[in-house]
């Protein structure tokens, strides 16, 4: 394979992984549960900080990353219990509540941990193809993104929990009337969403500068990806990420990052205009 061709694939996989990993948690929390979670970035930040903290304590990176995702998930469960569960019927208020939460968390982190944390360095080294050198860790990110997608699909489409969870999110009262422990299901689902956000932070922690507001870099992309995906996030998120990654990657490569960024947003506007219900509406219609 020529270096150029590989490079295109590599870049594409890189953007795709970024979109999927940042959007996966939100796909559940926002796409399925309907909570406009403005604190999504803070769960990502949490995952990153815990990872770095553990690595600095001498924990091996992969274990630290898993532990960080779990920590974020547990925090998610607590947040769900204390705050979010009041807002399932009022998604627009959830925006305000989680925004408030996000302010509190970022600023508290600044006060407690300080404005910046020392990085831990990227593992896995690099490899060369032709004139180009690539970071191997980026392939790990891509693999993780694919794993997350597959995992989500299996959990929510194939397991007992998944079927009941989806039912709960579509009509909680009815699901209760059929015997679902909706409170618990909500808490677990939110926890999974927060955990995936934490995982995103954990995976990107070695490659990024850690500051309390770091979550912000993920938020626009993740919301856009989930929304473009449409109502059925399990079907829509992956194609949405594929599409956006292709657009972004092409524009980045040929016109630079500014056009890449502006172009992606313009594409978002156009895609929604053509498919006002998002990508999954087409897929659902096809699928039947």
């Amino acid at each position: 394979m020529s270096a150029e061709v590989f490079s295109v694939f590599y870049q594409f996989a890189d953007v795709f992984a970024f979109l999927i990993l940042s959007a996966a948690g939100l796909a559940i929390v926002f796409g399925m549960m309907g909570v406009i979670n403005m604190a999504h970035g803070e769960f990502i930040m949490c995952g990153a900080y815990v990872t770095v903290g553990l690595v600095n304590l001498g924990v091996p990176l992969p274990i630290a990353q898993i532990a960080a995702a779990i920590t974020a998930g547990l925090i998610g469960v607590v947040v769900e219990y204390l705050i979010v569960r009041r807002f399932y019927k009022r998604p627009l208020d959830s925006l305000l509540a989680t925004w408030g939460l996000s302010l509190i968390v970022t600023q508290s982190m600044l006060l407690i941990v300080g404005s910046s944390v020392r990085g831990i360095g990227t593992p896995e080294g690099s490899f060369a193809i032709g004139a180009y050198t690539f970071s191997s860790y980026r392939l790990v990110l891509f693999a993780a993104a694919v794993a997350v997608l597959v995992g989500l699909y299996i959990v929510f489409m194939k397991t007992r929990f998944g079927v009941i969870a989806r039912a709960t999110m579509q009509n909680a009262a009815m699901a209760r009337a059929l015997g679902a422990r909706t409170g618990r299901i909500y808490a677990i689902s939110f926890g999974i969403g927060a955990g995936l956000a934490g995982l995103c932070g954990a995976l990107y922690a070695p490659t990024m500068t850690l500051i309390p507001t770091m979550g912000a870099t993920f938020v626009v992309e993740s919301f856009v990806t989930v929304v473009i995906g449409g109502a059925n996030v399990l079907l829509g998120t992956a194609p949405a990420a594929l599409l956006l990654a292709a657009i972004r990657m092409t524009l980045n490569a040929s016109y630079g990052q500014i056009i890449g960024q502006i172009g992606m947003l313009v594409a978002v506007i156009l895609i929604i205009r053509v498919l006002p219900e998002g990508l999954s509406s087409v897929l659902v219609r096809r699928g039947r």
Binding site: I36, M38, I83, R85, R86, F87, Y88, K89, R90, L92, D93, L95, L96, A97, W99, G100, L101, S102, L103, I104, V105, T106, Q107, S108, L110, L111, N171, A172, A173, M174, R176, A177, T182, G183, A216, V220, F223, V224, V227, I228, I258, Q261, I262, L265, V266, V268, I269, I272, R273, V274, P276, E277, G278
Partner: protein, 356 residues
């Protein structure tokens, strides 16, 4: 006409309410006589933002369109004012610049609105499209630092912002200090009363009907798209008014007034205040602007934590918004009944809310 000042769409009715309204207005009018000139100026500054909040309240609370684009039109009008004021050369022409820039924002809103509404975009998709458009403008303006980016004599000047425009003026007299304050109060009163009349009119009826169930509204013979477009253009135009006034006030505007997190602020004000009522939005936004500034001045690094806690506590304790919550509480006490609030709660679903 006058009858339209009251109606089902606006909270705050009857002699008690209007007496309060007049009392507050009178208070506002005599305020500059005994207040520090800085505080008068600061108050006018808060009022600048209220138009944007009222516009969002109209679109979101009444029309059901959650627009993340208030700062887009704020920015368009803000920059337009700058370009026009610089090129037309100050003095009384700044008034024309103000009006024209609002018109430009409305035209832009008309184009974007037509594109979205005729394309059948609604709900959260509406929010994401407006957000994307907003960010596109912010990114675009951010990279216009070079001298090649200019319109006439006005340099866009990238992230550092456009400056050098005159503030509002009549002849060679700048409208500043108390004069600006009175202009702002007058504008607010006019806009507020006009919006009340609008939402209580037949048009307002259709706007709320469209929010509730656009399909049903269409089945009653209304071209809902036109009403949505009207709502969007008016609401965005008000954001434009804020933008033009802001530029004129500070003689400066930058792309960061447009992009995140500025774009989220109007939503926060309106949600905090209670989006379903104009009066609540007016009062609440003012209080919040004032509160946030005060918190920021006095609490140093804890400011953001306190602001966050304030918002969180509000939504948890007063689900319909802070001002609306208090307003209803008072109204219930006064009238001895709480029809509206109660029904609001129960109407949310035929089945019991799932919380416990």
């Amino acid at each position: 006409m006058i009858k339209l000042l009251e109606g089902p769409q606006t909270l705050g009715r009857g002699p008690v309410f209007w007496s309060c309204f007049l009392a507050v207005l009178a208070g506002a009018l005599i305020y500059p006589l005994f207040a520090d000139s800085y505080d008068v100026g600061n108050f006018s500054y808060f009022l600048i933002w209220i138009f944007m909040a009222l516009g969002l309240c109209l679109m979101w609370g009444y029309g059901g369109m959650l627009s993340f684009g208030q700062t887009l039109f704020f920015g368009i009008a803000g920059y337009a004012y700058g370009v026009l004021a610089i090129n037309m050369g100050g003095g009384t022409t700044t008034i024309a610049a103000l009006l024209l820039s609002v018109v430009i924002a409305m035209i832009a809103a008309g184009i974007l609105g037509y594109f979205m509404i005729w394309g059948g975009i609604n709900g959260i998709f509406f929010g994401i499209v407006t957000l994307s458009a907003t960010l596109v403008l912010a990114f675009f303006l951010g990279q216009t630092a070079g001298p090649e980016w200019h319109i006439g004599d006005a340099r866009l000047n990238g992230f550092n912002g456009m400056k050098g425009m005159d503030p509002l003026a009549i002849g060679s007299v700048y409208i500043e200090g108390s004069a600006l304050y009175y202009v702002m109060v007058a504008l607010i009163v006019i806009v507020y009363l006009a919006l009340r009349m609008l939402v209580n009119s037949g048009i307002g009826n259709v706007i709320v009907a469209t929010r509730e169930n656009p399909q049903r509204a269409e089945m009653l013979g209304y071209d809902v798209r036109k009403y949505q477009l009207l709502t969007f253009v008016l609401g965005s135009g008000l954001a434009g008014l804020s933008g033009a006034l802001y530029t004129s006030w500070g003689q400066f505007i930058t792309p960061s007034s447009i992009g995140l997190p500025a774009a989220a602020m109007p939503i926060v004000w309106v949600a905090f205040s209670g989006r379903s009522d104009l009066t609540a939005t007016l009062v609440g936004s003012f209080l919040l602007l004032f509160g946030f500034q005060t918190i920021t001045v006095y609490s140093q690094q804890a400011a953001l934590v306190l602001m966050g806690a304030l918002l969180l506590a509000t939504v948890m304790a007063a689900p319909q918004g802070f001002v609306l919550g208090i307003g209803k509480f008072v109204a219930d006490r006064l009238t001895g009944r709480g029809k509206r609030g109660e029904a609001d709660l129960s109407a949310a679903s035929t089945l019991k809310t799932d919380e416990a």
